[in-house]
Symmetry: D2
């Protein structure tokens, strides 16, 4: 059974494992106060080009989101997210658990725009309502779509005009950057977001995420918030080592591009087989809408995940490629697909 279920089913990139092996019994300080974390931060700095920024390493996505968002919000403040946002539907209420409401304008393509946010601001006018103070977006979104540079510029300008912080969840950041139409580079984020989450778990790390806080006024005592949420790893150097490797020689971006490339191959092949998609995703998550019979046939040999039920006879599913997906595996699947369709 081959899995297209997600981008975290495989091991770490071999160079990361090798680096761990090479460390031997080297001793390091605990809690991220070690030389590996230091070097990893310096490497990330060469990309984001923002000396003011503070950088932290956390073990996973949900805890990065909840630690960062609860750190920057006052008790009565709320965060705005697309209804499809990870913090809204995939984290078991982790944000609400920190005391904050998630306000969710409905979005067709998983993206937020000034037009979607404005009615929320209009409706939340006084103390009977929570006070919207932060906008959460993911790039790519949970449905594979991306924010281009000009879209992000427009959104950030709106946020600044309306006193909203912009938090970008980049759990799959290099898959967005790898899409040709995206036009964003790492050095753009200091001018287009306030906090940036640079994902490792879904991009070839064993686990772990980097969080970049661009604004001085949001940085104070973030390590307290990390300790309090249980996101400060004793062996913090373990995260440093991984990001050191990911940000050496552009490996991180290459892994993202690879995942996108194999997804484009998959998308093209499925489209040619007459299959339509929920969204026009240029990234490593694809959402084909399958006749239920075909879906059942595919699942005999491949792991995929259910996404939604557009009608009785069809199911929208998610195919996910990863940094580790081989082109030949995709081609093999497409070959299989043709035969399955033919034999239906």
């Amino acid at each position: 059974m081959y899995s297209f279920k997600n981008d975290y089913s495989e091991n770490a990139h071999p160079s990361i494992l090798q680096k761990l092996m090479d460390m031997g019994m080297e001793q390091n300080n605990g809690y991220g106060m070690d030389a590996h974390c230091e070097r990893a931060k310096q490497l990330i700095q060469t990309y984001i080009q923002c000396e003011e920024a503070s950088i932290h390493f956390l073990p996973g996505g949900t805890i990065t989101n909840l630690t960062a968002i609860s750190h920057i919000l006052k008790p009565y403040e709320a965060v705005i997210s697309s209804n499809t946002g990870h913090i809204n539907i995939h984290e078991c209420g982790a944000i609400e658990a920190t005391g904050h409401k998630v306000l969710t304008p409905p979005s067709d393509d998983g993206k937020l725009t000034p037009e979607l946010i404005a009615p929320i601001l209009d409706a939340h006018e006084d103390e009977f309502f929570v006070h919207p103070a932060c906008v959460y977006i993911s790039n790519p979104t949970e449905v594979g779509t991306i924010y281009t540079k000009s879209e992000l510029e427009r959104l950030y300008t709106y946020c600044k005009e309306h006193d909203l912080l912009l938090f970008l969840d980049g759990a799959r950041l290099p898959m967005a950057l790898g899409a040709p139409e995206c036009q964003l580079e790492m050095k753009d984020f200091k001018d287009l977001t306030d906090i940036l989450f640079i994902g490792g778990t879904k991009v070839g790390a064993l686990f772990g995420e980097a969080l970049v806080i661009f604004r001085k006024e949001l940085q104070a005592r973030f390590r307290f918030s990390m300790k309090r949420s249980g996101s400060m790893l004793a062996k913090g150097w373990l995260l440093g080592v991984q990001f050191e490797q990911l940000f050496s020689d552009g490996l991180y971006f290459e892994l993202g591009k690879h995942a996108d490339r194999t997804a484009m191959l998959l998308k093209k092949g499925m489209a040619e087989a007459g299959i339509s998609f929920l969204t026009d995703s240029p990234t490593n998550q694809q959402f084909p809408i399958l006749p239920n019979k075909l879906k059942a046939r595919i699942e005999e040999k491949y792991s995929i995940s259910d996404w939604s039920k557009p009608d009785e006879d069809h199911t929208c599913v998610r195919f996910c490629t990863s940094w580790a997906t081989k082109e030949e595996d995709v081609l093999l699947f497409l070959e299989d697909l043709k035969q399955m369709i033919a034999s239906l």
Copy 2:
């Protein structure tokens, strides 16, 4: 500079790294629903011998404590901990962040007894006070001391008589079990605790802890609490693999014993050099009380941590050995120590 600072400054045990290397590009289900976690649970079961128990893997100690304790308490309930307890003084208020008070009887040796708990229960008699519902202990304690089997039996009997759950934080569990006077075995805990935290981070894992919930009524929807606190790792198999290895061929217990053995060597040597200790610790944490001048000399070559200030001229420090500490390193240090003392 050699570090006796803690037991998480070194890499993972080589056999764990090797196991990760050997996995190659094997694909696994996410979120701990994989074959490695399954096997790791079975291996732990052979030790704890409690079929009813449910077992979970979490990334670190603080998040294990906060997820478990907030899962089992009702909103108005509180947890009792020694004043030296990890949840009281080393987790930046992580338990309070989940809405619960930590009640802290003062303890000289880091341990709780019925005698220390009784006044707390007496004082918390009605709705003006929080309701004590859980007792948190660590074994070994934060000051290196241990609960013996008979002490734990007495404490657990008291807890049951007073409707208190007993949670045992075993971040360094095999170091307690490895002490000859302890007399506890893994199979005892099902009858002597309600929830057991089996530590990995401080016992040769890259990171990660196992949580055993013995009581059926505490098990329901624990995975919801994990997801909500951000402690459910996407690549959950990574924790399974490590515990699979740790619980193969008794490695886990061997590593604990090794840490204790090197600590006993250290303790004996320091005592012979005329140094006294804060506590009589049979485990891998030792708390010598050093003249400030000697401490300064030691710190030129060795990393240690400050613990407390018994008087102007002395400092109590912590020496920590680990699964990776070599006997020769301890002997080398003791040799150094003699010379330092002589030359003061």
Copy 3:
């Protein structure tokens, strides 16, 4: 300026003030452990006819909602409310502040049905989502509509089949009961809800609400939850006295009916003047949709509140009558209205 702004702009019913005057310097126990609270509970019991029920008095609506809902939910559980529900849009995130998500199916008339709840349950299938455990409804709703007895029977049956608790916010309960089509009586609620909030603030009390917990398993240590949320009044007898008076000689229900009657007069008059309404409300809140010019004219002499903006030229506003509204005031307004319309 006469106010139709809400049903809490006037003093308490004169008989309540008189009762306070008559008390003189009588001494009472604190925290609701007094004879007045006791008698008020007995009087409420004669109506609800449920000996198992426990009854508590709290100072206001938001704190009653948050105390009750946080008392009955486990940390990872969520409450379902209509998108127009008071807990969703009028309490500044008070429920989320206790750590719980509010799930909000969109409702045209402010009411929930099995059909609206079912998709929520379908979507919240595992630990990646919060677990829906409670349904919150208000009767009458925030847009004046009511649940009839048969509607509530259908909803409660559905809730029981799906393991959902049903909480009924009756801040304006007698205004629902007073509507002829409602068909509900106080003695029905023990079989049709799990927790019932009987409002005082909006029904002629100085302030205060009664909370009835019908189910034994939800009652344990509710006074702890009250103390913890700050909703246990030191002079708790003050709430007892008011509910004693409200539930003597059916005063409570008479006050609700009076508010409805004056609202029906208002509604009929406005409809005759050609004005249409957002909802067909049989209770004391009416939501006429006014041409902006007419609205401006009205606001020169009357206080009302804005509700929504159906289009550029119209505004939906709320007119609220109360236990204290005089028929002659409504008739005077209707006379004014005619002239305002004529002179537009």
Copy 4:
């Protein structure tokens, strides 16, 4: 049975009830945005003499404490309170319920000093510990003692030097001010505290407290925090009316002095009868240590409360006088006491 149990067992001061009666059916805006609240604030201003201050009215003591403290603290910050502090032992963990730890230096007389706070600051040095950011004191304290002007000056100076906010819980404020040695006046608090709680419940109001926030930077969106905690009363004018009356013609201070005077009479009489006290309290709470037999005899005719158990044969109890206690009642009790002692 006459009650010396507390200072909230009697009705409101007659002039407050009369004022409510006189209001008739006057209509007022909701949520504290009315003319009575406005006038009450102006009257309070004439005493505190701080134009920058913002003033709010809340329904009770615990909710005032939790709303204010959670408003001013960042998530990882803690509040320091005497171990006898109301927030520590009498509010069922209400502060922890908002996510914050209460740090409690042990105090013999219920008061905090720089000497008691300093070790707390020393021990909380980095992110492994919560960050102490606020000091909570009550004046008079829970054991009847008071802070004099010079003591408060010294404490506030220390707080400012150490970046700590000072919150003064004045649930019984005029009883402190009424003690001759106190030397504090209302106009002093703007220079000696950051937030001041001016109690009404225990000083002749039906219920309700005023909160004064002196510092601009702590004032922003406090009404959001009130709404969120459920402490914003719909009929907010009800609190305004009461404080309007209390702060007219110095009534508030006269009521406090009266309570103190009757307590001094009680104290003198008991001392003359050979009874000793837990603390030397100059205010309306007295803590005599009674032989158990005498206590039992007293409780046949008088309600009092248990405080602590100094030894097997004695109990420390609390006698509380109030604004409503008559001198003749105290004299009658002292007469009784003599006879009880004689007949033991």
